[in-house]
Every structure is written in C-alpha cells, then in structure tokens.
C-alpha cells in the first residue's frame, strides 16, 4: 500500500515545527515514531497534506530525574525506556508497559509522547500515565503548557493537545519511598492491542497502609479509565488480599468495555478485575521489597 502524497517538512527546532503547524493548520501532522500514523495513512484513515518530521530535532530524547520529576523527552523511544536502568530499577511500571507494546522493531521507532498524543484508548501508556499521575508538557507558540494527565484524554482519538502544540516532555512525580507499580496486560498474541490491561501504582507506609493509589485501565472505554472508586477505597486501608480484591472489583465497575472481536464486555469486566488484582499485588510487592 502506498500512502497518499504529502509534502515532507524537516524542522530542526521546536519553534520551527510549531511555525509549520500554524502555517498548515489541520492539513499538517507531526511525524514522530510514525508507527500508528503511517499505517493509518496507508489505509487512508489519515491523509495529511504535510508531514512535519520532528525526528531530527536535537535534544528531545532523554530520561532523567530532575527537580522532583522523572522527565521523559518528547522523542524518547519505547526501546530506550525498555533498556533504561533508571526505568527498570525505579519505575518498573513503565518498563512493564513499554515491553508489551507491539514488537521490538516498532519499539525502536515508537515514542511515549506519540503513544499519548494518538489518543487511542487501546494504547498502553495512557493507563500507566494515569496511574502515575503524569503531566504532559505541550509546547506551542506561547511557550509551555502543563496538562495534568486526568484532563489530557478527551475522548476516542482526541486529546487536549491543541493543533499547534507538540508534546515536548512527559513529567512524572518521583514516587516517595515504599512505592511500587506494575502493568498487567492480556493480549491475544504478542504485539496485539490489549484485550484489557491494568496499571497500578501504590505507596504504602511502614504499617502497610495505603498512602497513595493510582489505577488506570487500558482499552475498556473511549479513553483510559481512571479507576477512581478503587483508588479512594484503598486510601488509608491496609493493602492486603481482601482489600485488593475489593478494589479490583470496584475497578471492574468503573470499566466501560464494549463487546468486539477480543471478547464480550462482560468477559472484559472480569478480566479487568483479575488484572487489577494482579497489578496491585505486584505493585505492593515492589513497594515493600
């Protein structure tokens, strides 16, 4: 399949890229990893007249802790997250997530920022970023705008990112001691989108009482689902088998899956319950190890 013709633009700086976005408006798309965009262009689901390739903008690919945040650059690839020792040791939930996205070749190209900007609820990072309470830094003509993850996803394939903005960074608050997270995904085969998946991030105190809980769900609604009832239930309670099971049940109630080729809605609700239970227990294990 040959994609429709387009003009190819190669800005070297973010301001240059933003100027192109303003000049060409809705007819322009950012080309980052391109692993969703190019297949969509082949299928004529997307037909941008202008592709703004940001891959040659220097300094946009990094993973670092700075001023109380884990900062991930707008061009950081999945493969870089997967192989980062900082991510492996301190943010295993992100390692879990990156590792189950598509396949090695796609992870060499695909970016975290693109995974969010695409606004596909079947993508894996959105739920993880909800669990981590990340912030998306959108850079536009007027400078940087920080978007809390809970208001970033509007609906199916629609985010709060404005047309002339680029995700320049993703920020995640550095978790306090005794924190841990995990991502559990069920897929029909390696590389598939999730039938359902659950992301959980916990902070517990010395007594094992939950001081912070973040739970996000993948592909069971028009956006990633924040399992707010489950989070509120766990807060202030001991994180034990019984409370985890109850929280998982509440998460399943927050899920809004639809029946499709991957299974009936009822099955997916059951799946959310079990995946959330497993993610919470592994998060607890990592928080207390």
């Amino acid at each position: 399949m040959i994609p429709p013709a387009f003009e190819y633009l190669q800005p070297r700086t973010i301001p240059e890229a933003i100027a192109f976005l303003q000049q060409y408006g809705d007819d322009a798309k950012i080309l980052s990893g391109g692993q969703s965009l190019i297949p969509m262009m082949k299928l004529r689901i997307a037909r941008p007249g202008y592709l703004i390739d940001i891959n040659r903008i220097a300094g946009l690919s990094y993973i670092k802790e700075d001023s109380g945040y884990l900062k991930i650059g707008g061009l950081t690839r999945e493969a870089e997250l997967e192989s980062s020792s900082l991510i492996r040791s301190k943010y295993p939930i992100i390692f879990d997530t990156s590792r189950v996205i598509a396949d090695p070749q796609i992870r060499n190209q695909a970016t975290l920022a693109g995974n969010l900007a695409h606004g596909d609820p079947a993508n894996d990072h959105p739920a993880t970023m909800v669990a981590l309470q990340a912030e998306v830094v959108a850079t536009g003509q007027r400078g940087e705008r920080v978007i809390p993850i809970d208001s970033f996803f509007v609906t199916l394939f629609t985010t709060d990112l404005q047309h002339d903005e680029i995700i320049s960074e993703i920020r995640i608050p550095v978790p306090p001691p005794r924190s841990g997270g995990a991502y559990f995904k069920l897929e029909r085969k390696v590389g598939d989108f999730a039938t359902a998946a659950a992301a959980a991030q916990l902070t517990v105190d010395q007594q094992g009482i939950c001081r912070r809980a973040g739970i996000g769900l993948t592909n069971v609604g028009p956006t990633p689902i924040k399992a707010g009832k489950a989070e509120a239930f766990l807060l202030g309670k001991p994180v034990n088998e019984a409370n985890v099971t109850q929280a998982a049940q509440l998460a399943a109630e927050d899920a809004q899956p639809s029946s499709d080729l991957r299974g009936p809605a009822e099955y997916k609700k059951g799946l959310v319950k079990e995946l959330t239970r497993r993610a919470l227990l592994r998060a607890l294990g990592r928080a207390t190890e």
Partner: protein
Amino acid sequence: MAQKQLIHVKVNGRDRAAEVEPRLLLVHFLRGIPGLTGTHVGCDTSHCGACTVLLDGKTVKSCTIFAVQADGCEVLTVEGLMTNGQLHPLQEGFKAEHGLQCGFCTPGMLISSYALLKKNARPSEEDIRWGISGNLCRCTGYQNIVKAVQYAAGKLEEGGQGGSPNVS
C-alpha cells in the same frame, strides 16, 4: 504531486542516492533503487516483519518508514550479511537447522536475529523468542528458527567470522 527530494542512504556499505517522492516507503526504495529484493514486502501493515532491516543499527520495519527518513543513514539488508563470499553464521545456522521452509520471512528473521546477537551474544531460548517476536513465520512453528539462532550464537562465540558483515 509532492516535490521529490534527493536522498543519500548508505545501503550495505554503498552510497545510494536518488530523487524520491516523500511517500516512497523505505522497503520500496531498497527493492527499487539498488534492486535489493531480498527485503520482502509481506503484510504491508507492520505486523509480519518480513521487511525488517537495520537502520543505523536498529531494526525497523521498512514498510512503516519513509525513505526520506533514512536520508543520511546506514541500512543493512539481508544482502549485506555475507562477508567475502562467506555466509554469516546466522545464514549458516538457518541452513543447517532447517530454519526455513518457504523462506519468505527469512530475510526479516535474519536481520532481527542479527540485531539480537549484537546486543546479547548468549541469548536464552526466551530471549530469542522475544527477539524475533516482531517476525511472523507461517511454516516452521519457530522451533528450528530458535535452533538456528542458537547455532549462530555458538559459532560466533567460537570466534567464527561474520561478527561484522561487509558494510565497508
């Protein structure tokens, strides 16, 4: 019609320049301009991995990247694996262990395995299966592909040639 752009891509060590439309996919560039038809177009939807090549040392699906994105980069295709007429240990391994039947997926399998062994000289069976998880084979059931990669890992460890293919 979009304006054509002059690009230079170093393919298996040789500079290849062409004026291309921006929408030309890398796989079509490789097959069309230097005529390197070893890289196959399989599913064309970035699932099967038959079109896998190394782009600046990293595996990519060449059906899901534009040739203009490879401007100034180095590409290794299956044709570049041989050194001085000698098969790469991976190629030897696929032959010795019957790592192919119809052979359609083989160029992509070889390149993914090559990238895996560069990163991890002693992969476990699980590492190998994970390393080729972006490459589909509909014939072999993967058993013999895994054996072929293990064969190559053993050969390379013994100091067999082919650690660096002919890219000069």
